[in-house]
């Protein structure tokens, strides 16, 4: 038995017939070939599969594709929303916030929700909001710097847009 789902992914509506048990992460990766979202643990601990679903950061290994029917999903491929880099991506690069890069897409998607919630996050807020994303390479120090820097960049962009 298969179900039809229609999910807007990175601004484009995508429809497919899927098994009810198909996880959202597998729908994104195997059906839509959006392989930027990674699977690191399949038990909702590592956060490598984090995407935004209707703005909420979710671990897409713990959401069925059928649950996302009608939803708006943003993955790392859609984070910048066009050409160029999102300030979070720029900041991760500038501050060496990634080494192997496997956890990075999920980490950045979680960071994007964090910065929506707290445009000027405290250290405690960063640590609390990224608690569900494991990085094995960096020791997190540079991820914290990158998130703080991204907050500055977003603020500067908004100010520049406001001035225009």
């Amino acid at each position: 038995m298969k179900n039809k789902v229609s999910i807007t992914v990175n601004g484009v509506e995508r429809s497919a017939e899927v098994e009810p048990r198909m996880l959202l992460v597998h729908f994104l990766r195997e059906e839509l070939h959006l392989t930027g979202t990674h699977v690191g643990c399949d038990t909702t601990q590592c956060g490598a599969c984090t995407v935004r679903m209707n703005e909420q950061a979710v671990k897409s290994c713990t959401v069925f594709a059928v649950q996302a029917d009608g939803a708006n999903v943003t993955t790392v491929e859609g984070l910048a929303g066009g050409d160029g880099l999102h300030p979070i991506q720029e900041a991760f690069r500038e501050h060496h916030g990634l080494q192997c890069g496997f956890c990075t897409p999920g980490m950045m998607m979680a960071a994007s929700q964090l910065l929506d919630r707290y445009p000027e996050p405290t250290l405690e807020q960063i640590k609390h909001q990224l608690d569900g994303n494991i990085c094995r390479c960096t020791g997190y120090h540079n991820i914290i710097k990158a998130v703080q820097s991204a907050a500055e960049k977003i603020k500067a962009r908004k100010q520049a847009q406001g001035a225009r």
Partner: protein, 770 residues
């Protein structure tokens, strides 16, 4: 360019989701694999019933090793980076490690594999395979495995698979002179590297060229290529292994696994691309672990705190199959004495099999155990003599006056260990100052009076890196002036594409933007000896420097003819070749390369274009070192450890890129913190895995890792042209020792810490017992 903190070249694809990790490989007609694994630690596999699995929609086949002779192959006995040149080992006898064993030897060992049209169908198929087992007695603990009546891990093989001995000086005389003799057992836990990407392999048969393309998460692509080519009887060049984007390695991916051979063999026979990606659950259960290690130490010392000698009995659990002979034990021994003088040393070691997954190194690879031992020894002397632990260290430290210093060890490449140009007391002094050691000793007294448990601990490490035999690099300049640097090693996050580009740009006088580094593909080079043992920067870095230097020589010789000047007048800067002093006489590197293509003058310069291949052979390893000081507060009610201050002072020679060096220190520290306070691969009495998920196996989260205060000290080495040492395996080594000492100190030495990890429950139960 060299030594600059430039952002990484590899990041752009990785932050936009365009990296290509193995599980991202999607090919038309691809099939997917799922393994059936033994639920028993030891069992005869009587029958594999395939029918039900074959009836699952989408299942293409079920294979148990009986189908093709190549599936009866065995894995190479020893891994790429072993210790064949170490004189310490006196006995080694290992069983065959088959792709599909007749008898399972650990929980999670592969018994059959299901191939299907989708990953879900493959998993359904694997669940439907019925296997008849006859469970056999198994042994889960190395202590049991060494007893005479123990069940055998493998029939016909002793559980002690290897043995070694080494001595330095006269241990008997040291113990005869000793005013203090102490003895105790130290234990360090088994660990898993826990890269966020699990293992994976994908393989595609190309009928047109009768060759296999393989995508791998491994750290040793050439070993994989040669093994698979050997199994299939193909020339090495008809097997291509690509391992470019790998999501972390840390040692566990530095060995060839059965799946790495089975999947390519099936892709070859079925003529279909096949992909297998390990689940985290499979990873926790069946991927290699580092093995428990125990040290029985006996110390001979004087009342003034001088260490006279050490006796060490070293027991290492190597799991069901030991592909590293005694590499980890020898690493421990080679690094044992760290910054200190141990005039007499007597060591005996055993490699003990158990019915647990095979043993593998984890970042640090025996060094954590060495540091934990040496610092616990010095702390024990401090306790016994009532001297401050810092004072005991000062009294035993190797000084610049002792250089070049030989500690009597022979490194595992067969070369005697020698330290030169290292100022250990300076590292200690800087760490003491940075941590405000004396200030904290005062504050500790004051705060203790208020009931707060503050403690200070010191850990000192040395790190041998840059193990040979060699690495090569091919460097070339194309007609657009783009410079390609090819290397035989691959990255699991170490930033090779950036640091090696810095070396090439610096050597050539080229723009950094013009340089691209290509590694992790066996088509690019003929040889590669793997990413492990902190060896890439030293080996490949210097190979790139040599090859780029050779290319530069060619450019200079040709440019002098084209620009009509003497060779010593040629200047290369920002990818432009010019004549010194002249403002008009110049040519871009790319234009010069284009011009050389049809120029007969290149007959003398090795043919058209500018290219060169060079290899760097290190004489032996280079020695990095450092000191960690931890200040902690322990909550006596909860056992929680809060790190108030953590200082790392280290030397890794000249940094190629300080951003990358800092990243290695920060990430390595977090892993060391995990080792110190919680990480543990746990098996029960039946060798069933108890740490089966990331809920059960602790990995430090963002809130767990404190700020660290790092100071870089540079003692350059003359052992290689770049003057670099290694850094990859330095930071995980000392947190276990420093934090143990700090916790013990915080609790006013009411407990003795002799075992890693030091969990909250360890602290609480020790406090209750005290």
């Amino acid at each position: 360019m060299l030594g600059k903190a430039v952002p990484r070249k590899e990041d752009e694809r990785l932050i936009t989701g365009r990296g290509l990790y193995v599980e991202d490989v999607q090919l038309p007609g691809m099939l997917y694999a799922s393994f059936v694994r033994s639920p028993y630690a030891r069992a005869e596999i009587l029958r594999v019933k395939k029918e039900a699995a074959l009836a699952v929609p989408g299942v293409v086949g079920v294979y148990d090793g009986s189908e093709w002779p190549e599936l009866k192959a065995r894995l190479p006995e020893l891994n790429g980076s072993v210790t064949l040149t170490s004189p310490y080992i006196d006995h080694i006898k290992l069983p065959d490690h088959l792709l599909f064993p007749k008898r399972a030897s650990y929980v999670g060992e592969q018994v059959a594999v299901v191939i299907a049209e989708t990953p879900y169908a493959a998993a359904d198929g694997a669940a439907a395979v019925e296997v008849e087992y006859e469970p056999l007695p198994a042994v889960a603990r190395w202590e049991e495995a060494m007893k005479p009546g123990s069940p055998r891990v493998h029939e016909g093989f002793d559980n002690v698979v290897a043995h070694l001995k080494h001595k330095v000086g006269d241990a008997d005389a040291a113990f005869a002179q000793a005013e203090i003799v102490l003895d105790f057992r130290l234990e360090t836990q088994s660990l898993k590297s826990m890269a966020i990407e699990c293992r994976a392999v994908a393989a595609q048969f190309d009928a047109a060229t009768h060759s296999l393309n393989i995508w791998s998460t491994g750290q040793f692509p050439f070993m994989m290529r040669n093994t698979i080519a050997g199994v299939l009887g193909l020339p090495n060049d008809q097997v291509r292994v690509i391992a470019r984007d790998v999501g972390g390695g840390f040692g566990l991916k530095g060995v060839l696994y059965a799946e790495d051979v089975i999947i390519p063999v099936l892709a070859y026979h079925l003529r279909c691309p096949i992909r297998w990606a390990e689940t985290r659950n499979e990873h926790m259960i069946s991927a290699n672990h580092s093995g428990n290690q125990a040290h029985d130490v006996r110390i001979a010392a004087k009342r003034d705190g001088t260490l006279l000698g050490l006796e060490l009995k070293l027991y290492k659990e190597v799991g069901a199959y030991d592909h590293f002979d005694m590499m980890l034990q020898i690493n421990t021994i080679n690094h044992l004495t760290t910054h200190y003088k141990v005039p007499a040393l007597r060591i005996e070691g055993w490699a003990v099999s158990t019915n647990t997954p095979p043993g593998s190194p984890y970042r640090g690879a025996g060094r954590v155990e060495a540091v934990f031992t040496m610092d616990r020894v010095l702390d024990a002397i401090a306790r016994e003599t009532s001297l401050d632990p810092l004072e005991v260290r000062k009294r035993n430290i190797v000084t610049p006056a002792d250089m070049p210093y030989r500690n009597g060890q022979i490194y595992r490449d067969g070369v005697p260990v020698e330290f030169d140009g290292i100022d250990f007391p300076l590292l200690l002094k800087k760490a003491v100052e940075r941590a405000d050691y004396d200030g904290w000793r005062k504050r500790q007294k004051e705060l203790r009076a208020q009931g707060r448990a503050i403690g200070i601990g010191i850990g000192s490490y040395i790190e041998a890196g840059g193990l040979g035999p060699c690495e090569g690099s091919r460097v070339k300049i194309d007609e657009q002036g783009r410079i390609s640097v090819f290397v035989g090693v691959n990255s699991q996050g170490q930033s090779h594409e950036t640091t090696l580009a810095q070396v090439a740009a610096h050597t050539l006088g080229a723009k950094f933007e013009d340089v691209s580094v290509f590694g992790g593909d066996t088509r690019l080079m003929d040889f590669g000896f793997g990413t492990g043992a902190s060896r890439v920067a030293v080996n490949a870095g210097n190979a790139v420097m040599k090859a780029a230097g050779e290319v530069r020589n060619k450019v200079v010789r040709y440019a002098a003819q084209v620009l009509n000047c003497a060779e010593n007048e040629i200047v290369i800067n920002d990818s432009v070749v010019s004549v010194a002093g002249a403002t008009q006489n110049f040519i871009k590197l790319g234009d010069l390369a284009a011009r050389s293509i049809r120029d007969r003058r290149m007959i003398e310069l090795g043919g058209p274009g500018f290219h060169a291949t060079e290899f760097f052979y290190p004489r032996t390893v280079v020695w990095g070192s450092g000191v960690n000081i931890a200040v902690v507060e322990v909550d006596r009610r909860t056992g929680a450890v809060e790190i108030l201050k953590y200082v790392i002072v280290h030397d890794c020679g000249l940094p190629l890129n300080p951003l990358v060096v800092d990243g290695q220190i920060s990430g390595g520290f977090a892993q060391g913190l995990g080792i110190a306070l919680g990480e543990h691969a746990v098996f029960d009495e039946d060798a069933q895995v108890l740490s089966g998920s990331l809920m059960d196996y602790y990995v430090p989260r963002i809130g767990d890792v404190p700020e660290i205060d790092v100071e870089h000290v540079v003692f350059p080495t003359k052992d290689n042209p770049l003057g670099i040492k290694s850094v990859g395996e330095s930071a995980p080594n000392a947190p276990g020792a420093a934090l143990s000492a700090a916790i013990e100190d915080a609790l006013e030495r009411k407990i003795r810490i002799t075992r890693l990890p030091v969990t909250r429950s360890t602290i609480l139960s020790a406090l209750r017992a005290a």
